[in-house]
């Protein structure tokens, strides 16, 4: 192999993945580390990378403490209700108490935040959401990160973390390759902030062919947040807590602004309200603690996202689909109609393309909704991610080991999708988590925790061979066949992805099985994942672009295996509407009011699972008072 090795040495803070979490980390790190060397590695171009690449029309996590709207604990309660109790309240509180300062800075930097002309406060879409003209959200925060970083390496796909060889379980940097030049990149760093993305495309999508790109979460969200950290032996939490989204059919256009701001609502194919009739049985299934129909009605306590999905799924299965979004009323108001379209253009252009293609004018026709395939991420209504330390002044001993947002691997920090147990962070909360991680990483270095790190040439050489193996493999076996993609000695990355999606779908509760799984299915799924892992040693890449896809696939595979193990471990149906354990169809608080924590041994690939206590911020203030 002729690719050059490019070494970047003496880095203090290496940021892997520069979406909202990574840009927040790089920006803030400069303040606490004036003389520190801050480097960003991003597999695309920082100006348009990550989940916010195409923009956002709302900031979904803003307290409005400045306007007397909410306190951090209100947001914790909200996220706790939505996730059926399973959150890291210390991390959530910490994120919520800082998030407003990030948003206020965004406004100062030029991000157009809408104002309510009457109150002067930001224009609320819902209790936590504010409306923005966010087409350039990403370029704006990228500018901030670039101002702080010493170097930005665009188009470098990080494949592995480097580990210290003088001290067990301590990070020492990362390696990857440039998807343009093919060069091998080595980053030797005292700390690493993994701010890469969650995972789309690990469950078989509803769409076929071309439409596979029109996933809800970005197709470039390859689960690298998890792939990198699991590969380094970091503990993960709540990986079973995948998310299913109710969205506009096929285009997956967001519904938040429609529900909250435009006041549209859903009905079944017969034009009836359908949600509430499923709630009594659901209340029985999950218990009154999580769904109290009477109290919800009285106090406007929000119904958890998963439970609303449950009603949707069951109504469709009862033969009364499709579910429609009733837009015809709201869209008679030209102002609201314009907002409805801007909402898509600002963050999901594909939905506007679809309605234009199918002549769906929501003013005269109520568009169809559907429930999506599952996604694995940690910043929407779901909390997958690494088991991280919380802040000193909040966290109980089980949640605290010295440095905020540090994983169980020393010197390895997380932000955004990478951090587990912190749902509802969204863009602003992810940026905030990046800032928190960066400050803690500076402190870790200043405390002398990164002294004496040693990385051998052997480790660097070994990783290099591993990274380019798919290209070697292709070269060796390609000429055994006349042509085409069928080869007895290898699969290409697309073939591997198709296999992964099919088995995750069928064994781990995807869309074609109505989100249903059980212990037997999961055990079969784990076996098939092992076989796929063996075959991934024989994945072949024809060129550097395919090499990128090969490594994305490997990260998705590691993510999937973790999801499968966690789903098997939690023997209950905690989130009906996200997935169902057919052999344990109830919420079981007696045994499972806990956070699930896993570790994959990097040497053997063996998983160990444990339960961690779930702490709550004291009272459950009646939602009526807060609403």
């Amino acid at each position: 192999m002729t690719y050059k090795t490019v070494v970047e040495d003496n880095i203090d803070i290496l940021v892997c993945g520069a979406g909202l979490g990574g840009t927040g980390a790089a920006f803030e790190a400069r303040y606490w580390g004036k003389d520190k060397k801050i480097v960003i590695a991003e597999k695309a171009n920082i100006d348009r990378s990550g989940a916010v690449a195409q923009g956002l029309y709302a900031i979904n996590c803003y307290m409005g403490t400045r306007f007397g709207e909410n306190n951090p604990e209100d947001h914790v309660r909200y996220a706790r209700i939505d996730l059926m109790g399973m959150v890291r309240e210390d991390l959530l509180f910490d994120m919520a108490r800082h998030v407003d300062s990030a948003v206020h800075q965004f406004e100062e930097w030029g991000l157009p935040l809408m104002r309510n002309p009457k109150t002067g406060a930001y224009q609320r879409e819902g209790r936590w959401q504010i409306m923005i003209h966010g087409e350039s959200y990403k370029p704006i925060v990228a500018e901030a990160a670039k101002k702080s970083a010493d170097k930005v390496f665009n188009r470098v796909c990080v494949t592995h973390l480097l580990m210290d060889e003088s001290k067990e379980n301590r990070v020492a940097g990362a390696v990857g390759f440039n998807v343009r030049t093919g060069d091998y990149h080595v980053f030797k760093s005292k700390t690493v902030v993994v701010a890469a993305g969650g995972a789309s495309n690990i469950f078989k999508p509803r769409s076929v062919g071309e439409g596979a790109g029109r996933v809800w979460y970005a197709p470039w969200s390859s689960g690298s947040a998890y792939g990198l950290m699991i590969g380094a032996g970091a503990k993960m939490t709540q990986m079973e807590n995948r998310i299913v989204l109710a969205r506009f059919k096929d285009g997956y256009g967001p519904v938040g602004a429609y529900f909250l701001h435009l006041k549209t609502y859903t009905q079944n194919g017969l034009g009836e309200e359908y949600e509430s009739k499923w709630f009594p049985a659901l209340e029985e299934m999950v218990g009154k603690r999580y769904l109290d129909v009477e109290a919800s009605h009285r106090t406007h306590r929000p119904i958890p996202t998963c439970l609303r999905n449950h009603a949707f799924i069951n109504e469709v299965n009862a033969g009364r689909g499709p579910i429609h979004m009733v837009t015809m009323e709201a869209f008679q108001d030209p102002h609201l109609e314009e907002i409805g379209w801007h909402n898509f253009l600002g963050m999901t252009v594909g939905q506007a393309v679809l309605w234009a293609a199918t002549d769906v004018d929501p003013k005269y026709e109520n568009p169809e909704l559907t429930t999506s395939e599952p996604y694995v991420m940690g910043s929407h209504a779901t909390g997958c991610g690494a088991w991280c330390s919380g802040p000193e002044d909040i966290s109980p001993p089980e949640y605290y080991w010295g440095y905020n947002r540090m994983t169980t691997v020393e010197g390895l920090f997380g932000a955004g999708d990478a951090v587990g147990g912190t749902p509802h962070a969204f863009s602003s909360g992810s940026f905030t988590e990046g800032r928190l991680a960066a400050k803690a990483a500076c402190k870790y270095i200043d405390d002398g925790k990164a002294a004496g790190i040693r990385v051998s040439d052997d480790q660097i050489k070994r990783r290099k061979e591993e990274i380019y193996k798919p290209m070697e493999h292709y070269k060796i076996y390609r000429n055994e066949i006349t042509g085409g993609s069928v080869n007895p000695n290898y699969i290409n990355p697309r073939q591997g992805l198709d296999r992964l999606q099919k088995l995750m779908d069928e064994y781990c509760g995807g869309v074609t099985v109505n989100y249903m799984t059980n212990e037997k299915l999961l055990n079969i799924g784990l076996k098939k994942l092992k076989l796929l892992e063996e075959d991934l040693e024989k994945v072949a890449a024809e060129n550097i672009h395919e090499l990128l896809r090969a490594w994305e696939l490997k990260h998705r595979h590691l993510t999937s295996e973790s999801v499968m193990h966690h789903t098997l471990f939690r023997k209950e149906t905690r989130w009906p509407g996200y997935y169902y354990r057919g052999d344990a169809m109830r919420v079981d608080d007696e045994n499972w009011h806990v956070l699930t924590v896993s570790r994959r041994d990097p040497k053997t690939g063996e998983y160990t699972m444990e339960k961690a206590p779930c702490y709550h911020l004291i009272d459950d203030k009646p939602a009526a008072a807060a609403a």
Partner: protein
Amino acid sequence: MPTFVYMTRCDGCGQCVDICPSDIMHIDPKVRRAYNIEPNMCWECYSCVKACPHNAIDVRGYADFAPLGHSVRVRRDEEKGVIAWRIIFRNGEKDMNLLAPITTKPWGKYIPQLADQPAPSQEMRGSQLLFNEPKYIRFDDGDLNTLESNGLKMQAGVESY
């Protein structure tokens, strides 16, 4: 195939290649113009469409569910700080022009260079504060929220809530 490139407009400048988040806009070595090498990994995010200086890139909805004959075009003007969209339906009955701001300030000028800010004190380093805090959280004299200040304490398990 989500994005595609018009042969007569593209000059192979590579701006789309440079910006595509999915690494799917590549230059065809034969015709030396850009094209989408992997439509099923395209999000229709329009990053390349916006970046193209010749308006050579357009989007045709996903073949598995979008009929032909529609158009969603865009012009993003960094100088003026606006983005202009035009949506035309397949049946031609709806033709919408929509305009939105993309920034309120000149690019990058109001983003602080943190290296030039006064260094944080030792006390700040030991605190829970981030840059510009607590001022930027509340814009009053209030301090950072803590469990104590908000009358809260952690309790384990299900009984407490």
